[in-house]
Structures are given as C-alpha cells and as structure tokens.
C-alpha cells in the first residue's frame, strides 16, 4: 500500500486529508470525531475575538435533484472564546499526537498577532493558518479578505507574524482577487512557510421570489455570503495551479475548495497541493467520507505504481501552460459510436446552434438502430471536415464513451502561436486563412 503521509513545511500528518477551518473544526468534540474517522489533520475554526453570529446563516445552490452543488454562508470566525479554543487545541493534540492540529488565526495589531502566535505554540499546535480570506463580516473590520486583497498589507502582517513564529505559518488566500499569485508572492516575500487556498467566493445563491429576499434570510434582509462546495472546485484548481506554477511563489500548498472524494483530492495533489482541506462535503455527509478518500487514493496510487502520495504531488503542473505554447497544428475531431448512441440528438442541436454546424442529421442506413433508436428517425453524423474539435458534443452527450474525440494526423509539424508569429515575421509562412 502506498505511503500517504505528508510533510507540509514541517507539519506532518499520516495522510493529506485535513478538515478545513470551518464549522466541522469548531470544537474538540468534533475534532475527536474527525480523527476517529481517520482525518490526518484539522485546521481549527478561525480563532479571534469571539464574534456574534446571525440566524440564519447558510444557503444552497441546488441543480436539478442535486443539493449543495454550491454552498454559501454568512458566518464569521469562532464565536467561542480564545481561551476555550486554545485549551481544546491542547487537549486534542495531547490525545492525537500523530495528527496535525493547526490553529487558524485572525486578529489585527502587531502585538495581538504576536500574542496569538505565542498562544498557538503554547497550546501545542503543529502550525498556524492566517485567515486572510473571509469575504464577509470580518473585512468590514479590516480583517479577513480586506487583508487578503491587498498584497502590501499581507506582506506587512505576515512580516509581523514571522517575527514571533516558532511553528510553521500557512497563509490562507482569498479567491476574491484578480490574480491569486500577487498575494501568494507577498506571503512568500514576507517569509511564510506555506499557502492555502481557496477561502470562499463572494456570492448570492438564490432569491426567494415570493418574499424577494435572498437566502440566507435574516429578518427581512440578506447579505453577500462566501461560496464553496463542488461548484468552486474548478476555480480553486485554477488558483492552486497558478501558484504552484509561479516561479516567484514556490511555497508548499494546501488545496481547498469543493473537495468531496478521493478523485477531487488526487486532482488537487496532481496540480501541486501537498495537503487538501475539506469543509462543505463534511457539512453534507459527515466525517465518514474520509474512509473513501484514504481507500480510493491509496488504490489509485497502487494502480499507478506510485509508492507515495508525494510522487503524485505536482505531477500535472508542468503540462498546464500558457496558451501560446500550445501546438496550433494538433487536431482532434468527434467520433460517434453508433452502438452506444441513444438518438437524443443533443449533440446535433448543441453543435448546430451553439458551435460550428459540424453535425448533420442523416438516414440511419447501415448504422442500424443501435441500442433502441427509432426507425426512420435521423441520426447525427460528424462532418469531419467541419469539426474544429471543440469537445462540445462529447461533453453534451449523455452516454459515456459514445462521442469520443480522436486524434487526426494533420501531417504538419508542431507549431506554437509564438513560432507562428516568428514564421509570419520572417516571411517563411503565409497567414493561415481565416475560418470561412
């Protein structure tokens, strides 16, 4: 069985799965339950001067029958006292010495940051995470994403923290910013040991059309909340990769955002995360989901012949590159397997109205009725010459492996956009004719 243990900037845990700083890591009781279920680490619910929360706090973006595709909250940091939180961290760490317990912190002045760092160390925390990400409530008070959106402020505050740091410091970044590498570089410059991302994204999930007030509803009003859950995974992966690939960042990453199973986790790790953190999926299904994460990831690593999860870390970082480095002479086109096609013609309408008019509706002929297509009803046929290989039909098709994208040999050597520009400039090549 592959070795799942990790070491993120000196924070060790038996597996890369950490509970994110959020309601599931609110109390020692929950952390015990998490560790019993198998989680490798817990990032404690952000500790600071206790706040007061509103009721209600969450709302959901449901799609069809699926609940919590996206999840939104207007909760603040911990509503428990700083003393109680550190006391419980100590308890937890004593009972689970092999797991990672990380204190998430949020405060304001230099003295307060120093004080919090000392308390975290005294409680036995393996590291701290600085919450520069919370997009609501705290930023109005000059904390959370108000810090995270301003690289200069990040650099200053991380600098203060590093003055007092005796344990590893992770800086948690907000996604509510145009270029995630800017705050990441600032954290690096200030000496942070690692970064984590993403915190939640500004959002309004739904408007109650009778009351005309969005959820979460608080006495006739609502507020912008932080968005997370499966829907944010692509955004998080993009940011994790951007930081992993940036030569000016080069910090270990703890990936967060929409992770719910071993596959999600493996993708974050392949794009450069050392550990991964989970909140929404636990809020939906409980700590037990980690069993599949551990089991599935280790089966996958075994299948791929990797002895350790560290071999997977960053494996896919290099192949995601700038657009201008892609080969303009590569071509793939769609191909339909008529033994699988059920005749819904969604591919046709998608290509006809939404893409490049490269699918015709034709007589079934030799291709027969497949798994149950109606006699006389036309079936889709790819016009190979017209197909630009956009992938749309294969994405739309409801049958697995029915439309596949197959490579076509163009007989031309690889050429990037940059090379193309050079060839144009030197007169070696005429411009490629515009699409008709």
């Amino acid at each position: 069985m592959a070795d799942l243990s990790i070491n993120l900037a000196g924070i060790r845990s038996p597996n890369p799965f950490w509970v994110a700083s959020a309601p599931p890591s609110n109390t020692a009781y929950q952390c015990h339950r998490a560790f019993e279920a198998g989680w490798g680490g817990v990032v404690w619910k952000t500790i600071g001067d206790p706040i007061v929360n509103v009721s209600s706090r969450y709302s959901s973006h449901n799609v069809g029958g699926m609940r919590m595709v996206g999840f939104n909250n207007i909760e603040l940091i911990s509503d428990r006292s700083i003393e109680v939180n550190f006391k419980e961290i100590k308890e937890c760490k004593e009972r689970w010495p092999d797991r990672a317990v990380i204190a998430s912190l949020m405060t304001d002045t230099r003295e307060n940051w120093h004080d919090m760092m000392k308390r975290a160390r005294d409680a036995g925390a393996d590291g701290v995470e600085l919450n520069f990400g919370c997009p609501h409530g705290m930023c109005e008070r000059g904390m959370g994403s108000a810090v995270g959106q301003n690289p200069d402020v990040i650099e200053t505050i991380v600098g203060w923290v590093m003055e007092a740091a005796e344990i590893p410091v992770i800086v948690k970044l907000t996604p509510n910013i145009t270029d995630i590498t800017q705050p990441a570089r600032a954290a690096k410059r200030a000496g942070a040991d690692a970064i984590s991302m993403i915190n939640t994204i500004n959002s309004v999930t739904q408007v109650d059309l009778d009351r005309l007030v969005p959820e979460p509803y608080v006495d006739g009003k609502s507020a912008h909340g932080g968005y997370c859950g499966p829907a944010v995974k692509p955004i998080a992966l993009n940011m994790v990769h951007s930081c992993a690939a940036d030569p000016d960042v080069q910090l270990p990453i703890s990936g967060i955002g929409g992770i719910g199973n071993w596959r999600d986790a493996a993708e974050f790790i392949a794009l450069g995360s050392t550990s991964v953190q989970v909140c929404t999926a636990i809020m939906h299904y409980g700590f037990r989901i980690v069993e599949d994460m551990i089991d599935g990831l280790s089966n996958y690593l075994d299948d791929k012949g990797m002895d350790s999860v560290n071999e997977l870390c960053g494996k896919a970082v290099k192949v995601v590159d700038r657009w201008e480095t892609l080969n303009l002479n590569y071509k793939r086109i769609a191909s339909i397997d008529y033994d699988k096609c059920i005749g819904c013609n969604l591919c046709y309408v998608a290509c006809e109205d939404g893409a490049h008019q490269a699918i015709a509706l034709t007589e079934a002929g030799e291709r027969g009725l497949g798994p149950g297509r109606l006699p006389g009803k036309p079936i889709p046929e790819i016009k190979d010459e017209e197909c630009v290989g956009c992938n749309l039909c294969s994405i739309v098709c409801p049958v697995d492996q029915c439309i596949t994208m197959v490579d076509v040999d163009t007989g031309k050597p690889p050429m990037t956009w940059k090379e193309y520009q050079e060839k144009l400039a030197s007169g070696e090549m005429k411009p490629i004719p515009a699409h008709p």
Binding site: N261, W262, Y285, D295, N299, V399, D400
Partner: protein, 487 residues
C-alpha cells in the same frame, strides 16, 4: 411424452442466462449517484451481515470499485453470491428510504454484484491480513454458506480451520441448489476459492459420521461448527410417488448444476407440487429448459403462498401455470407418469386447507416435481451428537448471538439451526458463531456487531416514516413499543 432433452445448447444458455444482467459502468454510476448516502442507514440494518451499503455505493460513485468490494467482502465473504441470490426486496432494498419519497429503491444487489465482479479473482488480496495464529484448531462440518461464513471469519481471527464437506464440491446449495439464472455454480466455486485463499483447508468427499467419526473431530479440534443445512424433500405419501418421473425439486435443480444445461431432461408437461421459493425455482427452470407446460399445484390460495412476490412474478412472466386450492391424491401411470390426480380444497374455520369430497380431477402430465420443503436432518444430528438439543421442529438449539449449542465446544448456524432461511442468514450466523467460538477459545470479544436478522413481520406497525415499507425492523420496533407501553 417422457422426460427427455427438450432444448439445444444455444437456447438453453439463453433461457438460463442471468435474470438480472451485470450493470455496465454507466448504469452503475447512474444508480450509485442516486443513493443519498444516508447516515446509520436502514439498508444496513436490514442486511443480516451488516454490510456498510452507503459506503460501498459511494465508492462505486467515485470509481473506487476495489474499495467498494473491500467494504462488501469484509462484512460478507459471500458478497458475490448474495448480490445475486438475496431476496433484496425484503432485505436491504426493501428498507431503502427512497421509497418514502416515491422513488424506486436503490438496486443494492446489482451494485454489489458490480463491485464484486470488478475484483473477481483478486478478492483475497483486498482483505485485511489474518490475525496472528492463535494455535487453535476448528473443524467445520458442512461447506455451505454457513460453514464458509464461519470458516472465513475464523481464519481471519487467526485460527486453523478445516471444513469437512460430504459432496465433491463445497458451496452447499450455492453450488448445487440456487436457480441457475440467479447464480451459476462457477460464481459459488470462485467464492470457495476465496475462502481457501484465506488459509482454510477444505476436505470434500468426507461425510462426518460416515467417513470420519464425530468423536475424532471432538478430540482433535478445539471447537466444532455444525453447518449441515437441511435434508431431503418431504415425501407426499400418496400412491405413484415412486414412479421414475417423480423427482425431488432439489434433485432436479442439482442436475441443472452438474450437467450441461441442454442435457437436462424435462417432461413435456411438468407439474410442481408446492408453492414456496423452491417450487418457483423448479417450475421456471423446467419451463426454461423446454417443457411445453409447467404448472404449480398448491393446496391453498394465491394469498397464502410462501413464495416471495417477486419470485411469483418471475414464474408468471415465464408462462408457468398455477392451480390453487388443489391437493395431490395420486400420481397416475403404470410404468411412467401420465397424470396427477388432485382434489379441490377449501379453507376450514382455522384456515387449513380441507379436501372437498368428490371434487377429484386429473391434471395430465409426464413429470412431477415435489417441492414441499426440506426435512431437518434429525437422525443424522442425533447420531453425530446424541446430547445435542433440538427443538420441536428439529432445529439445532443454539444461542442466537454466539451459536453455542447444548454440547460444549459445539456451535451451529445456517439452515440446520434456523430451519431454512436465506444464504445471507447462513453467512451471518456462521460469522456470529465464529466470533462465539473465538470468544470461547481466546476469551476476547470481537468488535463490531453482526446485525440481528431484521426481516419484516407482516402487519407490524411501522416506526419512523409512517409509510408502509416492505421491511420492518422487528427487534427495534418491539423495543420502541415496549418503551411506549403499547405492546
């Protein structure tokens, strides 16, 4: 008009093919995605072996099939055959909460098959390594589901186990008795290999009490598990019963499992007496193997039949006939069967079927299959262990939780102890007894309960949703109502 081959190889293979074919990857994904992943799910409570169903379904949903199979097999070593033979509508699927929101229950059995198929041949590598050897030796009599379930669990607890099986192959009724279109002998024999690969020795062709004295086992082993199942079919006790075309259902089904399918001889017009699940298996398989007509004759009415509703549906869909309220009087024929004389019955005040004098009639047929239920092996058990306590129905008396019988060192489970239930009950009872034996030999209890069997009691009041789900949890309900002082 005699018992003869009535089909060809190709037709036989088609007619006897899986009644529920294997899921494709996409079908499995779609079905797995429907599962709500309930916490402390009722489907788990309804599985006698307590498989963590939501956990394995969730793993299928994320294409961790090996992990799914591990979850299944670590609770139920015969997970592959149970996936095919369990009466899921009255077990896990019957308890699925989706029925309470007007949806079809999750097809747990088919998903279980999908996961176990995915690891066929590699099962043992998935399971946790057995515990350190305890130095204790345990003998298991009978290599059916109960014996295999017990042996696998014992081996995993570190004991040296030997199974003694009187037949040429182990697997019990899984190998010789289940309807072919549900489970082929190959799947059963593969499972036997899995149990062997856990380190269990299986000695086939050894009948304890005949080839090997019971006393030897008691002397040479630290404990003995009795998983001997049931015996022959009850006899009719009517004239003509000894004609050559009168067969026991089990003998007929065994031919299907030991001969090429198209070589199994059936009558042109077959009558099956009885209306339990075995009768259904016999009548449908006779029809599928080429009988022009196959008809069930049952003493009582449609409502009274012991067969499960979905089994009855299979037989009706196969075009089998049903003659209710008719009791057999005589098998007609000189040297071979020509018909069955029956008499009409009516329920008396107590609901028993009483023959109506003068209402005899004849059902022409050339083969009669008796499916009246299996006898307990009282004589064999008393010869093996004269001190073994049996109840009035001939079942081995044993402690429900530990399998301990009245004889020290002897444990029991499966059909011999429960009187004849399902494969999954036999596996669960074997597993419980293994833990009972372990506790007796080593003094430590094994963590993790095996669920008590929770198949529904008709007419009991529902707990929870208030809707009428087919599966009840009688033990839980009894406690609930006792606490409320209602029952």
């Amino acid at each position: 008009m005699t018992r003869q081959r009535r089909t060809d190889q190709e037709t036989a293979a088609r007619m006897m093919a899986d009644i529920e074919p294997a899921y494709t990857d996409q079908q499995a994904q779609v079905e797995a995605d429907r599962c709500l992943y309930c916490f402390d799910a009722p489907c788990i409570m309804a599985c006698p072996t307590g498989i963590d169903i939501p956990a394995f379904i969730k793993k299928i949903a994320v294409q961790n099939n090996r992990g799914a199979a591990r979850t299944i097999l670590s609770s139920n070593i015969l997970g592959a055959s149970c996936a095919r033979v369990c009466p899921t509508t009255v077990l896990c699927e019957g308890a699925c909460v989706l029925q309470d929101r007007d949806q079809k229950p999750i097809k747990i059995g088919r998903l279980q098959r999908y996961a176990t198929d995915a690891v066929a041949g590699k099962e043992a590598s998935l399971l946790e390594k057995p515990a350190a050897a305890t130095g204790k030796k345990v003998a298991v009599i009978g290599g059916g589901p109960a014996g295999l379930g017990c042996a696998a669990e014992m081996a995993r607890l570190g004991h040296a186990v030997t199974i003694f099986e009187r037949r040429p192959e182990a697997g019990g009724l899984n190998t010789y008795g289940i309807a072919y279109y549900k489970l082929t002998p190959e799947v059963s024999l593969d499972e036997v290999e899995v149990v062997k690969s856990l380190g269990v020795e299986i000695r086939c062709g050894v009948e304890v009490g005949v080839d090997l004295p019971m006393a030897d086992l008691q002397k040479d082993y630290d404990a003995v598990f009795l998983g001997v199942g049931l015996g022959h079919t009850y006899t009719l006790g009517i004239p003509g019963e000894d004609l050559p075309e009168v067969m026991e259902a089990l003998a007929f089904i065994e031919e299907i499992h030991t001969q090429p399918l198209h070589e199994v001889a059936v009558g042109e017009h077959v009558v099956v007496i009885g209306c339990g699940n075995t009768a259904i298996d016999a009548v449908t398989q006779a029809k599928r193997l080429g009988a022009t007509s196959a008809t069930i004759v049952y003493r009582r009415g449609e409502k009274d039949m012991p067969a499960y509703a979905y089994e009855y549906e299979i037989a009706k869909a196969d075009g089998c006939g049903f003659v209710f309220h008719a009791a057999p009087v005589e098998v007609l024929g000189e040297s071979s069967v020509t018909g069955l004389k029956v008499i009409r019955t009516e329920p008396d005040a107590e609901g028993r079927a009483r023959p109506v004098p003068g209402s005899e009639s004849v059902i022409p047929c050339d083969m009669v299959i008796k499916a009246l239920g299996q006898e307990k092996q009282v004589q064999m058990l008393q010869t093996l262990l004269p001190d073994l306590a049996l109840d009035a129905k001939g079942r081995v008396v044993r402690d429900e939780k530990t399998g301990q019988t009245s004889v020290p060192g002897v444990f029991a489970g499966g059909d011999a102890a429960n009187g004849g239930r399902e494969v999954v009950n036999a596996v669960a009872e074997g597993k419980k007894a293994a833990r009972g034996i372990h506790a007796a030999l080593c003094g430590d209890a094994v963590e993790g309960p095996v669920q008590h069997t929770r198949v529904g009691v008709p007419g009991s009041k529902p707990v929870g949703s208030g809707l009428d789900r087919p599966v009840r949890v009688p033990e839980a309900e009894a406690e609930y109502y006792a606490a409320k002082g209602e029952r």
